[in-house]
């Protein structure tokens, strides 16, 4: 009797959360936010375990110690490494799809800007994670960044100083570890907010709702199982793919990482930042990119109808361009980076205005 009451209570509690009715026939791509949230949870959990054994003052050898000496430590490192890569892959897919279906216009603008913020936060978190591994590459990336931060003046200098606390020293990684964790929690919050905003922007039309259980639950379950399959393939057989060899070298003064080889999810951004000379130029290029992404709902001059063929082709071209940008040599990288800005600044307003006309 009590059991039944308890079960009923539990069902009631879950009902609010799971029984929400939705529009019928959502595509597989609509599961991406849930998959992202699952990955961020995996990252938070494995990161919490890693943080227990991590020593920011002996970063490289403590990560080696986790890999060699901690029970299941290699598995936790693998979860964190593979999870980080997949987060970027899935967020990239989600942003690409939003561009392709023009999901950033009108009511979708709020959730679009939150997803773009998530991208910025995750890129920063990913860079910090790369630095925290303490390998030769991360060591030099941090040295370069803090040197540039110390040289900056005015407001940017103040922000940079607040972030790094001065030139890279023994305690810098301890500071960055906290920032890494705080940003990761922020990313989890951003996913919740962006999903809510997306749901508000697209209310379910009355009369054609489908119950979450079992219709959507079955789709999410299948998507999560597929993600777990890809995850275990990478974890078991390619855990170091795209990580760069510099992270398995201990940082010594005799080993100079020029250029720094970043993990694969930072490749496009690192090359795009190189479009403008100097540290100020690099920061400017990245900031302009994000300003353009935020401004996209207004750069798009269409009336919000689904995009026509020309615009879709351009979006596909942009996606391809960013993939090529990740692996391009210096000349091609400059061209591909310039194309990104050209796409948002010139092509988008032009083509969408033509569509509206």
């Amino acid at each position: 009797m009590q059991m039944e009451a308890k079960q009923a209570g539990l069902t009631c509690l879950c009902a609010g959360w799971t029984r929400k009715d939705r529009a019928p026939g959502a595509p597989w791509a609509a599961t991406l936010p849930v998959l992202l949230a699952a990955l961020v949870l995996v990252l938070l959990a494995s990161g919490a375990v890693l943080a227990v054994y991590y020593d920011p003052r002996h970063a490289f050898w403590s990560v080696q110690g986790i890999m060699r000496g901690v029970q299941g430590g290699w598995l936790m490192l693998g979860y964190h490494r593979v999870g980080a890569g997949l987060v970027f892959a899935l967020l990239g897919l989600h942003l690409f799809r939003t561009l392709l279906v023009r999901g950033y216009r009108g009511a979708g603008a709020m959730s679009w800007m939150l997803w773009v913020t998530l991208l910025a936060v995750l890129l920063l978190t990913g860079w910090l994670g790369f630095v925290l591994q303490g390998g030769a590459g991360g060591h030099w990336a941090l040295l370069n960044a803090t040197r540039a931060a110390v040289m900056m003046s005015g407001f940017p200098g103040t922000v940079a100083m607040w972030f790094f606390g001065g030139p890279a020293g023994g305690d810098t990684l301890a500071r960055l570890l906290v920032l890494h964790a705080v940003l990761a929690l922020g990313a989890a919050g951003l996913i919740c907010m962006a999903s809510r905003a997306a749901k508000r922007a697209k209310p379910v039309p009355n009369g054609q709702v489908v119950a979450f259980w079992p219709v959507y639950a079955s789709q999410y379950f299948a998507a999560l199982a597929g993600l777990a399959l890809v995850f275990s393939l990478l974890l078991g057989f390619a855990p170091h793919w795209g990580q760069g060899m510099q992270s398995v070298f201990a940082p010594t003064p005799l080993l100079v990482a020029v250029p720094v080889s970043y993990p694969w999810y930072l490749w496009p951004l690192a090359r795009l930042a190189g479009l403008l000379p100097g540290v100020g130029g690099q920061v400017l290029a990245v900031m302009v990119l994000f300003v353009l992404l935020y401004a996209l709902p207004w750069l798009d001059r269409s009336n919000g109808a689904p995009p026509r063929r020309l615009y879709k082709v351009l979006i596909w071209l942009l996606g391809l361009d960013i993939l090529v940008l990740g692996v391009a040599g210096p000349m091609l990288a400059a061209l591909c980076s310039a194309w990104v800005f050209f796409h948002f600044l010139v092509l988008t307003p032009l083509v969408t205005a033509m569509e509206a006309a």
Binding site: W61, Q64, Q219, A225, F231, L235, G236, M245, V248, F249
Partner: protein, 235 residues
Amino acid sequence: MMRRFFAPLLAVGVLASGAARAEDTLSPLHFQSQGWSGTIDKAAAQRGFAVYEGVCASCHSLHGLHYRDLEGLGLTPAQVAGIAANVRLANGQPATLNSRFKTPGAISMGGATPPDLSNIVAQRPGGTRYVYDFLTGFGPPPAGVSLLPGHFYNAVFPGGQVSMPAVLRDNAVTYADGAKASTAQEAADVAEFLTWASDPNLSARHAVGLRAVLFFAFLTIVALLVKRRIWREEG
């Protein structure tokens, strides 16, 4: 059920590997650790440790490893304790299971510092094969190549000149399992040992990975079928 089915197979496998005790990894050259489902060849890695301890350790550190880690190569705690007890650390004390591998004193080979070998296989493209090729790549310089002072010719090393002399020779160590200690055998064994040192969880990772992939592949197929059925009925 599974065990009943696989036990005879396993027994045959063990017998076969026992019969091939003098297993030839040299002709053709192959490493059990290579490939998508590779596992560390513990017998070869144990021999490789003997080569490291007898030859390499006088110059190269293995800072990432503790003596207790050798249990991962199939040695018993007593055997590892025996190995550690024979090592005098810098402070004059014998090493214990929880000591890091002894770091040799500061050495300069014509201005070059011998690198730490903890991650050497991960630090070189095709690391296992590279270690073998490097250790067997020494020889007289080809005509027209003049060496820098204090350097030795090595066909595999970038630039062809290296500060390390050829240190492996036939019977540089005596193998406990009776294998013939040719130069090539020593190089192959130490390559397998260093592969293990760089990635001590390689065997476990492949085993866990394979099981997880099989399980989630099955789960994905079932979940897709369930989803299709539910969507046909309800959607």
